[in-house]
């Protein structure tokens, strides 16, 4: 059956996570078509971007003030209307905060048990998803006529951003029965010149061992040198050293960069769940017994306050010589 992917966007650009979700949806749909739902306000640039994705055959656009922001109640109404009109067998979204917010809401409208954080598509009705913070993988089979799922972006390649030429079809705005009960007030996005944490090729992450928020400046220097993003463990967030937007782990972001440098992070199960699929993991910790070393490709035991500046200096020397 055909599949629908809910686009994540800010009305001007399409989030890369959506292209990963398209790949997952295509795996579920098999030879059947994949459509993308762009619900937003003045969002034609997003619709164009979605139509250009390789493998997308149709873009449904709901342009209405109620979906200017990704309000789950309104977005779910739009998705349910799209399913009713087009008979999709699957509705997928990336397992971002926004995707996790809306997919189960659709579940209540369609009476379907959603499937969270799919990491592998086994067949059109069978999927693999992590449970217990990734300490076990469950293979689950859904008998719902419409399969609703969030997919973990790091487990599916992004569909190419161009090569497609999908039809763009405007949909009538559906009823939004909760429109006057939930209103967007404000958003406060952390401004950063660094790459987006979820898709950065390099992540430099700090934990409790950093001792204070000020000490994260040391990691920022290293991250900037490597063109990477900053991350943190839940312990560092809990102690108020850094903003929760940096949290990597079961209860935060899941990342899988080419290089992950864990500094002063012991490696609690909950943190490992968020980064153990990284290609190369470097761990710097003063405790030789820290569990982070069991997943690290390169472990260096010692005082991070000496190691990090030395590492930064030596990498800087190589970069300037190159």
């Amino acid at each position: 059956a055909s599949a629908l992917v809910i686009a994540e966007h800010d009305n001007s650009s399409l989030a890369k996570a959506t292209r990963h979700a398209v790949s997952a949806a295509a795996a579920v749909a098999g030879s059947d078509p994949v459509a993308v739902l762009v619900a937003g306000s003045n969002c034609s640039a997003v619709a164009d971007a979605a139509a250009a994705i390789d493998g997308v055959s149709q873009v449904l656009v709901v342009d209405a003030p109620e979906v200017e922001h990704p309000i789950a109640e309104n977005l779910a109404a739009a998705a349910a209307a799209a399913v009713e009109a087009h008979g999709f067998g699957t509705v997928a979204a990336a397992a971002t905060v926004s995707g996790k917010n809306v997919i189960p809401r659709i579940g209540a409208l369609l009476n379907a048990q959603p499937i969270s954080e799919v990491v592998e598509v086994v067949s059109e009705d069978t999927f693999v998803r992590p449970i217990y913070a990734g300490n076990a993988l469950a293979t689950v089979k859904s008998s719902d006529p419409v399969k609703l799922m969030t997919v973990r972006a790091t487990n599916f390649d992004a569909a190419p951003a161009d090569g497609g030429s999908a039809d763009i079809v405007a949909m009538d705005a559906p009823d939004f029965p909760l429109a006057d009960k939930v209103k967007f007030v404000s958003a406060e996005l952390s401004q950063s010149d660094r790459p987006d944490l979820a898709s950065a090729p390099v992540v430099v992450s700090g934990g409790r061992g950093l001792k204070s928020g000020e000490n994260f400046a040391m990691l920022e220097k290293l991250a900037d040198l490597l063109g990477g993003a900053m991350g943190a463990s839940r312990a560092a967030v809990d102690e108020g050293m850094v903003n929760n937007a940096l949290q990597i782990g079961q209860t935060g972001l899941i990342v899988a960069p080419d290089l992950y440098i864990a500094v002063g992070i012991s490696g609690a199960i909950q943190h490992l769940a968020g980064m153990k699929d990284s290609k190369v993991i470097v761990a710097i910790n003063k405790d030789a017994e820290a569990p982070i070393f069991s997943v690290a490709d390169y472990g260096l035991e010692g005082d991070l306050f000496q190691i990090v500046p030395e590492l930064t200096e030596k990498i800087a020397a190589i970069k300037s010589a190159a």
């Binding site: 913070a133 293979t139 719902d144 972001l253």
Partner: protein, 256 residues
């Protein structure tokens, strides 16, 4: 601002899960993870939800806090934990079946219709199945607005709250009309430890015993677990002796 007791009753969802500090083991027959003789606790995000509701009562915003749990007989212990933190009474919907979020939400929706709370607070996810669904499903069934992954709940009138949510890359604030469903994220609060006198007092608080059938809900799920496996083990790496050695390795891998 909301007047005294303006929010009336607040319901809180609580779930019994394997304790967060336990290293879970997959059963040899792949049917699930070992749960026998394994320490169980109140789900940490549910604890945050209970704490928030109790603080609302302490602030004079809520009149009564009711802890609602769908789970096995032993989940009574976990309802008692919520009562020891300050919830007034409990409702235990006893079942030994697997608790699929859709079915739990159906039951909670029926409880909400009977109890008529102003707010239903849940944890954003349970740390066993990591679904992060029940609050959203519940909001959908009730037709109530939802504020998921909340780090702050602020009353703005007798009939509305501002909920600040942890979204990718920052924070978002929504205004929700009551009644509403809110799910708790980590930074909403730091849950208290129940003091011994409160633990003793909790033993005398009332827990209503119900079953899913009382609410007309069949616990069979449309999502069936075929098998549970260990995740692939990452190959052990090496310990390097110095920064120079680390730099050489990273250079060799083409990473710097």
């Amino acid at each position: 601002m909301a007047a005294n007791g303006a929010f009336g009753r607040v319901l809180v969802g609580v779930k019994r899960v394997i304790d967060y500090a336990v290293k879970v083991r997959v059963k040899p027959d792949k049917s699930g993870v070992e749960t026998v003789n394994v320490k169980h606790s109140l789900n940490p995000f549910c604890e945050i939800a209970v704490e928030e509701a109790v603080r609302m009562k302490e602030a004079g915003l809520a009149t009564e806090v009711v802890a609602v749990c769908v789970g096995p007989k032993k989940a009574q212990e976990n309802i008692r934990s919520a009562l020891a933190m300050g919830a007034d009474r409990g409702i235990h919907i006893e079942t030994d079946e697997e608790v699929a979020p859709l079915n739990v939400a159906r039951i909670l929706a029926e409880v909400a219709k009977a109890e008529e709370p102003s707010m239903f607070i849940l944890g954003k996810q349970a740390i066993d199945d990591d679904s992060n669904q029940t609050g959203q499903l519940l909001g959908g069934f009730l037709g109530w607005p939802q504020g998921t992954m909340a780090s702050k709940i602020e009353p703005v009138s007798d009939t509305a709250v501002h909920v600040t949510r942890e979204i990718d890359g920052g924070l978002e604030t929504l205004e929700l009309s009551l009644p509403a469903v809110v799910t708790a994220d980590l930074r909403l609060n730091k849950p208290r430890f129940a003091a011994l006198p409160n633990i003793m007092k909790a033993k005398r608080k009332k827990i209503d015993a119900k079953t899913p059938a009382d609410f007309g809900v069949d616990m069979a799920s449309s999502l069936q677990t075929l098998e549970v496996n260990e995740p692939p083990v990452r190959e052990a790496g090496i310990m390097v002796g110095s920064v120079d050695e680390l730099v050489e390795k990273l250079k060799g891998d083409g990473l710097i």
